[in-house]
Amino acid sequence: MTAPLLQVEDLSKRFGGFTALDAINLEVAPGARLGLIGPNGSGKSTLVNCLCGTLRKDSGSVRFEGALMDGLSAHQRTRLGMARSFQLPRPFASLTVAENLRIPLLYTVGFRRGHHVPRAEIAAREAELLGLVGLADKAGRLPRDLSQVEMRKLELARAMAAEPKLLFADEAMAGLSHGEVDDIITLLRRLNESGITVILIEHIMRAVMSFSDRLVVLVAGRKIADGPPDEVVRNPEVERAYLGE
């Protein structure tokens, strides 16, 4: 078996007296398509925030490509190859759509190479990414001119612009139509085939089931199931969490 890309051991996070994450253990192999599900408030986004460095964990350890992530800030983790989209889109409001994608190209890709990315290449990458998510005709617009759906696409494109090894897609499909969900799934599959490990945090079961090759279920900050999607959804504990007693 190859070494895991992401290794989480006994990760815990509390907000005051509330335990948001309770000793989470998780290993993700390179190239995986992991679905992360759980009811509202079960700690999915908190887990992503702790893994990406947006929040500080209280205890436990996170290893990415074998290296401990302790004390590394969010931008350092992004540069190492973790990228994320936010649950609620957080575009840079004063920058155009194309410029939004330019930021990771300037600050992450440029840093990784150790020199500035040439202007022509930046423009080409922006156009390529915008084409990929279907925003090519909005390149010069400001985020406030975009619809919710387009903003989610921008959010995903910006995460992809950082050329990650591991992509967290945090509810990238909420509010999207049937066809748009399929578009995004196709997009994520294509990314995965190009070698990017994807962790999909999602409520839409149809999307999760068709995308994931493995399913992890969080309930009240604890991991209650982990395995092949078909088995996990038949797990009585998971059924109880979703459907009640």
Binding site: Q76, R90, P91, F92
Partner: protein, 319 residues
């Protein structure tokens, strides 16, 4: 426009301005112009932190006065030319800016603003109680009557401040189209998203506080030689803080043009109001003018004069 082209253009405008003022042979124009230029530097410096990264600094007076008092302290020890004093003042204020940034930049919005106000009070209290630089009694600085090649001393000071204004504007302009400028903009828009895109937000904020503080200190360094008598109450005057916020706000905060326009406009009105009888000869009317203009602009033109003119100067508008 590339940075060196911009710098040459700014130098040409500056040279033209200086020569035309010399042609008018009115010493007072240099005396008043110095103050206006000083505000061009202060407003531009404030805007690097306040406009580009969105962190509102109420402590301009502290950085400015630190530069001035660096000159007072240095003048007691060795005789240094003004440019050297400016460099020293810039270093001191830059270091204080860096320290302030490190201590306060985890604060956001109004809390950061209050912390900078507190810094101004602390620094003023320290200077007021430091006898070496005159304490609350103030300090006299004796300046030469004239400088070789420059004519009168006031003309020399004017020229020095003109050069600093060119430097400050060139820096601000260079930031706007650059990677640093994009980084600053992402901090203003959304820090968490900036971090997630790989922007080292804390380091960039420190660059902004240091650069902004250093330019303010440099603007303050010649002050003792301009006023010849400096006491804490005038060096730390609230007007510096208010003006350096009001000028970018009135001119427009998204580009280097805004603070320049704001400073030229407000600074000139204030200079006229100080000496004319338009307002019954009361110089206190200055702050009232600033206040009224500020209210008008916040209500009617939140993007300043630049926004009113509809000029597309937003950073990144060009490639």
């Amino acid at each position: 426009m590339r940075s060196h082209t911009f710098c040459f253009a700014a130098l040409a405008v500056a040279a033209l301005l200086f020569e035309s003022l010399r042609f008018l042979e009115n010493e007072y124009l240099f005396f008043a112009g110095y103050v206006v230029l000083q505000y061009v530097v202060l407003a531009t410096a404030w805007n690097i932190l306040g406009g580009y990264t969105g962190y509102v600094n109420f402590g301009t007076a502290a950085f400015f006065a630190l530069g001035a008092y660096t000159s007072v302290a240095a003048g007691k020890l060795v005789a240094l030319p003004i440019p050297a004093l400016m460099l020293a003042g810039g270093v001191i204020s830059g270091v204080v800016g860096l320290g302030m940034g490190y201590l306060t930049l985890r604060l956001r919005g109004v809390f950061f603003a209050i912390a900078t106000l507190a810094l101004a009070v602390v620094v003023q209290t320290l200077i007021t109680n430091w006898d070496f630089v005159g304490g609350s009694r103030g300090a006299y600085t004796i300046r030469p009557a004239a400088v070789e090649h420059f004519g009168s001393y006031v003309q020399y000071l004017f020229l020095v401040m003109l050069a600093l204004a060119v430097i400050a504007l060139t820096i601000a302009h260079a930031i706007e189209g650059s990677r640093l400028g994009y980084g600053f903009a992402t901090i203003r828009d959304d820090e968490a998203a900036a971090e997630a895109s790989g922007v080292p937000t804390l380091r960039l904020k420190l660059v902004a506080t240091m650069l902004s503080g250093a330019l303010m200190g440099m603007a303050g360094a010649p002050l003792p030689y301009y006023v010849t008598y400096l006491d804490p109450a005038s060096g730390f005057n609230l007007a510096y803080a208010v003006n350096s916020i009001a000028m970018p706000l009135i001119g427009g905060m998204t580009s280097w043009v805004g603070p320049l326009i704001g400073a030229l406009l407000l600074g000139s009105i204030q200079q006229v109001a100080t000496v004319s009888n338009w307002f019954g000869g009361r110089p206190e009317i200055n702050l009232l003018i600033v206040g009224v203009l500020l209210i008008l602009f916040v209500i009617a033109a939140p993007n300043g004069i630049v926004g009113l003119l509809g000029v597309e100067t937003r950073r990144g508008g060009r490639r």
